[in-house]
Symmetry: C2
Subunit: 133 residues, 2 copies
DNA sequence: GCTTACCTTTACGTTAACGTAAAGGTAAGC
DNA sequence: GCTTACCTTTACGTTAACGTAAAGGTAAGC
């Protein structure tokens, strides 16, 4: 049984990006799909990798940073000499992400307040309408 | 008693950005410091606004998006006609931020695992060292 | 066999968010 | 009065992450 593969437009549609975006990622060496003739053939692993890249992007990482984080999950980069520096990188990234969480929480709180104010004002406007309109 | 003001380099230093960044924000109309002769004088309100912009940036908003969110807090934009569209904008932004939180949580979990693996491998390496070195 | 819907490469264009260099004004301290 | 440390404006440069256009190959369906 051969593995399931995907075309470029299938993945583009699934992830809500253009085919240009996916080609760009290959151009930069972030993904390496196989070829069938000249056409790209994406494996399940390619698909997951693109998914991870886009997830990283959503939290504000650059593409470069995305693949750095993703490659941390790859066992072949875990040779003993690099473990110390890898750990440092992970912890640094972690601190940054935790700071982002704080920022997001602050903003969500603020937005909840504004939303409540809006609803109150809308109610008042509606009551006003009823009384005078 | 006159209000406390700040120079451009004071704020740049406090927030860890260059003076160019702050001038750029004014250039784009995101802040409007007063002038004393040709020199910029930043009020406490200016300072807070810059702080909010930088906080927005940290969670991946564009400058434009930052000021849009910030201006939601400004009562003078809350006239009745715009409340509905304002509320929609707020909720949209909120959904996006919550998605980002999910993404960040996923990534933190993954990084915690990798970190644990690293520490284990380092321990093993140290034990190995002791046994054979 | 010809449309239609895909796919390909090459290559120049675009926007955001500043960086950087040039050229100069000003106020404080020795 | 001259250095030092600030401040100013103008203007061209840079990087990331694609967009877009041109020019063409291919496979399926009528």
């Amino acid at each position: 049984m051969s593995q399931k593969t995907y075309t470029i437009s299938e993945l583009a549609k699934e992830f809500g990006v253009t085919t240009r975006t996916i080609r760009f990622y290959e151009e930069k060496g972030y993904i390496h799909p196989l070829r069938e003739g000249s056409k790209r053939l994406f494996s399940a692993a390619d698909r997951v990798r693109i998914q991870l890249i886009l997830r990283g992007k959503r939290i504000g990482l650059s593409l470069q940073e995305c693949v750095e984080v993703i490659d941390m999950y790859d066992p072949k980069h875990n040779n003993a000499e690099q473990l110390h520096s890898l750990k440092a990188t992970v912890q640094e990234r972690r601190a940054l992400l935790e700071r982002q969480q704080t920022d997001i929480n602050d903003m969500l709180e603020g937005l909840a307040e504004v939303e409540a104010l809006c609803e109150q004002a809308l109610k008042n406007a509606a009551a006003d309408e009823k009384a005078h309109g």
